[in-house]
Amino acid sequence: MLNWLRRPKYGSLERREMPAGIWAKCPRCRNLIYRKELERNLKVCPKCAYHHRLTAVERLEITLDENSFREYDAGLTSTDPLGFENYPAKLSEARAKTDQAEAVITGEGTIDGSQTIIGALDFHFMGGSMGSAVGEKVARAAERSYEQRLPLVIFSASGGARMQEGVLSLMQLAKTSAAIGRIHDAGLPYLSVMCDPTTGGVTASFAFLGDVILAEPGALIGFAGRRVIEQTIRRKLPDDFQTAEFCLQKGLIDMVVPRTEMRSALARLLAFVGAPRVLPAAIEPAPAAQP
C-alpha cells in the first residue's frame, strides 16, 4: 500500500486491520501469504483473488492520486443522542482501533487527474454503521458535489444503520438520499462502489442510488441479513446469495471490478462523465527561464 494518507489522529493504539506478523493466512484459500506481497497486491490474495477488507484510509490511498486528497469534516462525530447503553464506550473503542473519528472519511481529490468528491466508509469502525455523523458527512459531500459541480464517488462498506442512534440513524437514509437526489437533479455524476460488506440501511439509501454501481468481487451486498432471511423462508440460501456476482446477474449493479482495476475503471468513468481535469504539475508547462 502507498501509505501517503495514513496519519495518527485518535492514535492511541497501533493499527490492527490484520494480525501482525510477516505472514498472513488467507481466510479463503488458507494459504500463507508473505504480508508484503499481499500489501503490494492491494490486499488481494495472489493465490485465490480473495479481496481482504480495507480501511477507509487504505481505500483512499489506492484510489486517489498521491497527495491529492483534502479531507472534509474530519472532526465531525456522532454524539449519544439516546443515552444508549455503552455507545460512548463503543465509539471510543472504535476510534482507538481505527485512528478515525467516524466510520466514513470524505473529502476531495483526483483520480488519474480527474477531480472528484469522494467518500469511503470504514467497516472497521463499528461495522461501518451509519449514524448521524456518517449521514451528515455523506450528505455534506453530496452537497459539495452539487455546489462545486464535481462528480461524487462513494465506497460503501457497512453493516447498516447504527442502532445505537435509534430512529435518528434511520433518518440518515432520508438525509443522504435527499442529498444524492439534488446532485442527480443537477445532472452531476455519482458513482457508487460497493465493497465487502454493503448491507442494510446503506444499501437502502445512497449505495443503490448511483448512476453507475460498481462492486468488488465477492462483496456481500444485500438489504436483509442471511440469517433473518433463512429464518423467514425456512430454507438454506445458496452460497452465492447476495454476492456482487449474484447482484450483477439479478440486474442490480452495473459492474464487478477487481480491486486492482478499480482505480482505472473509476478514472475512465470520471473522464467519460466529464469530470474537470487537473494536470499533474510535471506536465504543466515549465515557467520560462529568467535570463
Binding site: 496519519r7 472534509y72 469534516d73 474530519a74 462525530t77 456522532s78 432520508a174 435527499a178 437502502a204
Partner: protein, 341 residues
C-alpha cells in the same frame, strides 16, 4: 437510560404479566378440580385492574410496542374507509406483480382528490397471510412510487399510512432489489413535487416504513412506534438475548413522544385511553382533524418552498458534534492532510 435495571413502567408491565399468569392458573385449577377459587381470585383481579390503569396511564415503551402491534388496532383499510371517499385502488408496479401488502389508491379526503398509499396489514391470520403481514416486496414500493408519480402529474397531495413490521426479508425480495426499491422511494419522496403527509398508525418498521414515510409533515399516533430495528432484533444483536426486548424498547426511543423530541415526528395524535382500538372513531377523528389542518396549510405553500423546506427538514435530522479544533478548518476550508508515507 443506560442502566440495565427495568424502569418502573416495565416493572408494572411484568407485574401484570405475572398476575395474569397466576389468575389463569387459579381458573384452570377451578375448572379442573371444580373448586371455587373466588376468594383467592378477587384480590388478584382487583390488583390486575389497578395495574392496567397504571400501565395505560403511563405505558412503558415495551407496552406501547404491544399496543402498536395489537391485532384489534385500526388498520389501513379502516382509516381509508372512514376518512376517504371515492376510493379507487390502483394495482401493480407495471413491472412484476401487484403486492397486496401495500395499498395505493386514488381517493378523496374532505372532497379533495388525494393519492393514498399505505402498508396493508390484516386483522386476522387469513388477511395477514394474504397481505404478507403488511411486509412489502420491492414491487409494493414500486407500486407506491407509481401512484406518487400520478399524484405529482395531477398535482394532488399524497397521504401515506405507515404500519409494517418491515420490508419483507425474503430471498425473492432481495433478488428483485428490495434495497434499491426503498432507496429509490426515499430519494423520490424527498423531491416529489406535491405535498406529502405521513401518518404512522402502528408499527413503523425501519427502512420498510421509511420507504413510504418521507413527508412534509409526519404525524404519529400516540401508541404507534417507529424504530430502526425491532426491539427483539436489537436485543439479540446487542445482548444475544431476544428476551431483553423490553430493555431494547426502552433504549431505542421508539415512542411517538420520544420521536417528537428527537425532531423525527412533527405531531403526536392522541389515542383513547387503552389504545386506538378502544375507541376507533375518536382515533379517526383525531387523524382527520390533523390531516385536514396540515393538508390545508401545505396547499398554500409554493412547491419550490415546500421542497426546500422538506429537504432542510431531513437535512437537519441527527445529532452531531463538530470538534472545535478541526471544524473551523474542515467545515469551511478543506485542508490537505499530512501524509506519513
Amino acid at each position: 437510560m443506560t442502566e440495565r435495571t427495568p424502569s418502573p413502567a416495565v416493572d408494572l408491565d411484568r407485574q401484570l404479566a405475572d398476575l395474569e399468569q397466576e389468575i389463569e392458573r387459579l381458573r384452570k385449577r377451578s375448572r379442573e378440580q371444580s373448586v371455587s377459587v373466588d376468594a383467592e381470585l378477587g384480590p388478584l383481579l382487583e390488583r390486575a385492574d389497578h395495574l392496567r390503569v397504571q400501565i395505560y396511564t403511563n405505558p412503558s415503551p415495551w407496552h406501547i410496542v404491544q399496543l402498536a402491534r395489537q391485532s384489534q388496532r385500526p388498520r389501513l383499510l379502516d382509516f381509508v374507509g372512514t376518512l376517504c371517499s371515492d376510493v379507487m385502488e390502483l394495482h401493480g408496479d407495471r413491472l412484476y406483480r401487484d403486492d397486496p401488502a401495500l395499498l395505493a389508491a386514488l381517493a378523496r379526503f374532505e372532497g379533495q382528490p388525494v393519492v393514498v398509499i399505505g402498508h396493508n396489514k390484516g386483522k386476522d391470520t387469513k388477511e395477514n397471510i394474504a397481505r404478507n403481514f403488511g411486509m412489502p416486496y420491492p414491487e409494493g414500493y414500486r407500486k407506491a412510487l407509481r401512484a406518487m408519480r400520478l399524484a405529482e402529474k395531477f398535482r394532488y397531495p399524497v397521504i401515506s399510512f405507515v404500519d409494517t413490521p418491515g420490508a419483507y426479508p425474503g430471498d425473492e425480495a432481495e433478488e428483485r432489489g428490495q434495497a434499491e426499491a426503498i432507496a429509490r422511494n426515499i430519494q423520490e419522496m424527498s423531491r416529489l413535487r406535491v405535498p406529502l403527509v405521513v401518518v404512522i398508525t402502528g408499527e413503523g418498521g425501519s427502512g420498510g416504513a421509511l420507504a413510504i414515510a418521507v413527508g412534509d409533515v409526519v404525524l404519529m399516533l400516540q401508541y404507534a412506534v417507529y424504530t430502526v430495528i425491532s426491539p427483539e432484533g436489537c436485543a439479540a444483536i446487542l445482548w444475544h438475548d431476544a428476551s431483553r426486548a423490553r430493555d431494547a424498547a426502552e433504549a431505542l426511543k421508539l415512542t411517538a413522544q420520544d420521536l417528537q423530541t428527537l425532531g423525527v415526528v412533527d405531531e403526536v395524535l392522541p389515542e383513547p385511553f387503552g389504545g386506538a382500538h378502544r375507541d376507533p372513531d375518536a382515533t379517526f377523528a383525531a387523524v382527520r382533524e390533523a390531516l385536514g389542518r396540515h393538508l390545508q396549510a401545505l396547499r398554500e405553500v409554493p412547491i419550490e418552498i415546500l421542497l426546500d423546506r422538506r429537504y432542510k427538514k431531513y437535512r437537519r435530522m441527527g445529532r452531531i458534534l463538530e470538534q472545535s479544533e478541526q471544524s473551523a478548518q474542515s467545515s469551511q476550508s478543506p485542508r490537505p492532510l499530512a501524509g506519513d508515507g
